[in-house]
């Protein structure tokens, strides 16, 4: 993938406040995810709503939120999951691969590997047919996604030949994700994290 596309991807993704970091190996990605998870609360900006004046019913769901620090990494390849588990374990972070429905109150980190990247818009493409993956990329407060640079495409048109086979499998749930969940519905002021993650971190993996 050309340097030009990497730069374009970075520029476009950063424009929608994604955090971009180049990495040399998956090990770096695991360390990164665990690190973000541990340091998350140090950053006061990351308030997911429970601290506000919400109704008693809504706050019940906040109480339900796990006391542990949780990383969810559904659909990771077995060897990758094992490596991530080691890193998480060492740091005392809980790693889960499924059962996301019992974590709807929120988890700390969703970890995934993207199927494709679209440089033109800074988008990630994730085959989210697994319900757990769909949920982990929505209910996590921070989404950490690895994009192998070999999967970066210039435009959606260029990715079409690879998108189609995914969509031709049934059932399939395909997602283009660009930046964090956002809204401008109140006075057109941008606000992040209205339903989904409050942050999106993209790790560009040099795999060529």
């Amino acid at each position: 993938m050309s340097q030009e596309h990497i730069e374009l991807f970075t520029k476009k993704a950063e424009a929608v406040s994604a955090i971009i970091k180049p990495i040399g190996s998956m090990d770096e990605a695991y360390a990164y995810a665990v690190d973000v998870c541990l340091n998350k609360d140090a950053c006061q900006l990351l308030l997911s709503g429970c601290e506000n004046a919400i109704s008693d019913e809504a706050s019940e769901l906040c109480v339900a939120k796990a006391a542990d620090k949780v990383i969810a990494a559904p659909k990771l390849a077995d060897d990758q999951y094992a490596e991530l588990a080691k890193a998480a374990d060492k740091a005392g972070v809980k790693l889960i691969a499924d059962g996301l429905r019992s974590h709807l109150a929120g988890i700390d980190i969703g970890f995934a590997v993207a199927d494709l990247g679209l440089a033109e818009t800074g988008s990630l493409v994730l085959d989210s047919s697994s319900e757990d993956l769909r949920l982990s990329t929505m209910v996590s407060e921070i989404n950490v996604v690895v994009l192998p640079l070999s999967k970066l495409r210039a435009t959606s048109y260029e990715a079409e030949a690879e998108l189609l086979p995914m969509m031709q499998k049934s059932p399939n749930y395909l997602a283009f994700i660009t930046g964090a969940s956002r809204t401008a519905d109140i006075e057109r002021v941008l606000a992040i994290g209205v339903h989904g993650p409050l942050e999106l971190h993209i790790l560009l993996l040099e795999d060529a």
Partner: protein
């Protein structure tokens, strides 16, 4: 929502909206920010080419609607999706209620869908005892307020953070801080619990991709992902026009939709759902998935040669973003469910004549919507068509009927115009240039006093033509003059100035065919289509295009009407077809003629050193896409000073300003303020209607800035 029963009520409501300062400011800021945002988002792209491709592909899909539906149905059913076709909005609601019942659903979480707004689905389901919660933040807010959306993409743009905080205080039973970031987080938590409890998710769909049987959803908040993931049942309500043969078609629309909607490159989430996906909340781990396609008149529309193009609409909302009237009155007064230019039209088809009849009159015909439309829909023309249709169905108002009759008879019309001078005499100011009092039979005087209206000239241009016609021995070019009524009878000096400038080349044979009449735009604006057709025919016969190289008119509105509306109006008059096409091709405006064709240079003029601003008439900049020529023409003799929002409508719109004086007045006030801020001594423009409006406004406000046609400002500096 449009609920007024009488035009007076609608006018009253419109005036109230004009007084809504929060909304006015919000829409103003958005209108200005949108322009830059959109330009940045499309930077480096061939927008026109993209719009053309979308229009073509959509037309193709619309033509093949039945076949595409059958293919989608087959494909999706083979994957276990239940596919329905609802003939009407009511039927769609009933199907969805039945699905809820059959699956024992009690609680619905909904992702934003304009189609569901069209069918008033929430009310129907609530009536069936279901609880429905909207999950898009804006939709949730208006749902709790019991309102409809005021914009198709930003449904709650009319509300302030304080209003939202009050609303949330009610829901949470806690006091709320009017801080937007905090309010959004409150919504996040409140809505999260709603997803958890819901057993049915309802979404719309931006695309139904036939080749894969996929539903495509475009959202920013991610609510559609949760709403289609957590509940055990998913129902997508989809208008038949959303069927696209291939993924490529959908990706193409996706390139335009977010960019044109809000200036975003792409939305945060684009979701493609193929078949019933894994759902651990469902008994056999599989989602129950239904796709309800809705006809509700779409199949018939698809067959309509003229109106099928409205089915191209990709619901980007841009036609509201740029509409000067929307910007003043807001979406609740500029649509019923669908908002903006396309809303005026769709209201007629989907919600009926009674809801549409005042709305379609409230279009100043500035063309801004047509220029921005992602699907290349000829919105202003179709709005007028609906206006005419409603009059044909409901009966024509006496005034417009009379106007139509008079215009069809040129001699009668011209005699009346001339006689008006005498009729006006008792009402004219000293000096005779402006009308002091308006004869009250025409309109309420106090509504019109925001600008001084001119009197009829002593001598019409047609009566002076013989004595001023320049003699040219070896002409290189033959040009026919088309004056239009205003320059003929009110501002003949503008015509004379143009003749003077053109004659200075010594190489143009000018002609003024006497049988020309009003271009017909005013009656077209009043919904008198038949009269408009007849006048068009008369003019094409009066100015035989074979006799001239160009047909020059200095009235931008006439020019764009002659060039673009005539071929449409006269399309069934086969005997005239070649003449009409030639005629339209030869129409040119003054600035383009002298600047691009005759290539006059600044050598011809003595510079004045005067700072001159420019107002770009809607029908010139958008109608004829003439932008550089007039500005460069002014610069040949004066110092052209750019001012803000030059291309925004001055509020004239011919009879529009008589019918909607409050809006016209507000648009004019903005125009004047923008011009004044440029510290100019004169304003140039190239439409007598704009001169009438802006000059009259300056005069009424006691401002010293003179307002003239470009031709006059050039003629006065000819060497």
């Amino acid at each position: 929502m449009q609920t007024a029963v009488k035009i007076e009520e609608y006018l009253q409501e419109v005036e109230e909206s004009l007084g809504n300062e929060f909304q006015r400011k919000a829409l103003d800021t958005f209108a200005v920010a949108y322009r830059t945002g959109r330009a940045n988002a499309f930077a480096g792209m061939d927008v026109k080419g993209l719009v053309d491709e979308i229009a073509q592909a959509k037309d193709e899909g619309i033509r093949r609607m039945d076949e595409l539906y059958a293919q989608f149905k087959q494909k999706a059913e083979s994957m276990g999706v239940h596919v329905h076709l609802a003939k009407t909005a009511h039927e769609a609601n009933e199907i969805i209620a039945r699905i809820a019942k059959e699956n024992d659903c009690k609680k619905v979480i909904k992702a934003k869908s304009m189609t569901a707004e069209e069918t008033h689905l929430n009310q129907h389901l609530e009536g069936e005892g279901l609880k429905i919660v909207e999950s898009d933040l804006g939709e949730w807010i208006i749902q709790m307020r019991g309102e409809g959306p005021s914009h198709m993409v930003m449904p709650a743009i009319h509300l302030s953070r304080y209003q939202v905080a009050d609303l949330f205080a009610g829901v949470t039973k806690k006091e709320q801080d009017p801080d937007i970031q905090k309010l959004v987080k409150v919504a996040r938590r409140e809505l999260r619990k709603e997803y958890v409890e819901a057993d049915m998710g309802i979404s719309g769909s931006n695309f139904a991709v036939v080749e894969t049987g996929t539903i495509g959803l475009v959202t920013n908040e991610g609510n559609a992902r949760l709403a289609t993931t957590l509940p055990r049942v998913h129902v997508a309500l989809v208008g038949l026009e959303k069927l696209t043969p291939t993924l490529h078609d959908a990706l193409r629309i996706l390139r335009a939709l977010p960019r044109n909607a809000t200036g975003q490159q792409i939305t945060s989430y684009v979701t493609w759902i193929t078949g019933p996906n894994e759902c651990t909340g469902a008994p056999d781990n599989k989602k129950v998935m239904h796709v309800v396609f809705m006809d509700n008149g779409r199949k018939a529309l698809a067959q309509d040669k003229d109106f099928s193009q409205i089915l191209r609409c990709i619901r980007c909302g841009a036609c509201a973003n740029v509409c000067p009237v929307y910007r003043l009155v807001g979406g609740h007064k500029y649509g019923h469910v669908y908002i903006g230019a396309i809303g005026l039209i769709m209201t007629y088809f989907f919600h009926g004549r009674d809801k549409a009849k005042f709305l379609v009159q409230n279009c100043v015909n500035c063309g801004a919507c047509k220029e921005i439309c992602a699907a290349g829909i000829d919105l202003p023309r179709l709005i007028k068509e609906i206006h005419a249709r409603i009059q044909d169905e409901d009966g024509h108002p006496t005034q417009s009927k009379m106007m139509g009759m008079v215009l069809k008879n040129r001699t009668l019309f011209h005699t009346l115009l001339k006689n008006m001078r005498w009729a006006q005499k008792p009402f004219a100011e000293r000096g005779g240039e402006y009308i002091r009092h308006l004869p009250t039979i025409f309109m309420k005087e106090k509504d019109q006093d925001f600008r001084k209206l001119p009197t009829i000239a002593k001598k019409a241009f047609r009566d002076e033509w013989k004595s001023i016609k320049p003699t040219v021995t070896n002409p290189k070019l033959r040009v026919a003059l088309f004056s239009g009524c205003v320059q003929d009878f009110v501002y003949p000096e503008q015509m004379k100035a143009a003749v003077k400038v053109i004659a200075s080349t010594g190489s143009v044979a000018l002609d003024y065919p006497m049988k020309q009449s009003c271009c017909g735009l005013p009656v077209n604006m009043m919904g008198e289509k038949q009269a408009a057709k007849e006048v068009a025919r008369q003019n094409v016969l009066a100015l035989d295009p074979a006799d001239y190289d160009y047909i020059m008119t200095m009235c931008a509105s006439c020019a764009s009407h002659l060039k673009h509306a005539y071929p449409k109006l006269l399309e069934n008059e086969t005997d005239l077809a070649p003449k009409v096409a030639q005629f339209a091709d030869k129409v040119i405006d003054f600035s383009s003629l002298i600047h691009d064709v005759l290539q006059l240079s600044s050598m011809k003029f003595t510079r004045s050193g005067k700072r001159v601003g420019y107002h770009a008439p809607c029908h010139l900049c958008r109608g004829l896409e003439v932008r550089e020529a007039p500005r460069e023409a002014i610069n040949m003799a004066h110092d052209y000073v750019p001012t803000s929002e030059e291309e925004v409508c001055c509020g004239f719109g011919g009879t529009y300003s008589m019918k909607f004086p409050a809006i016209s007045k507000t648009l004019l006030a903005k125009k004047l303020a923008n011009l004044e801020a440029g510290e100019i001594t004169a304003v140039a423009t190239d439409c007598p209607g704009c001169v009438m409006q802006i000059r009259g406004g300056m005069k009424a406000a006691g401002k010293e800035i003179e307002v003239k046609h470009v031709a006059e400002l050039l003629a006065e500096r000819l060497r």
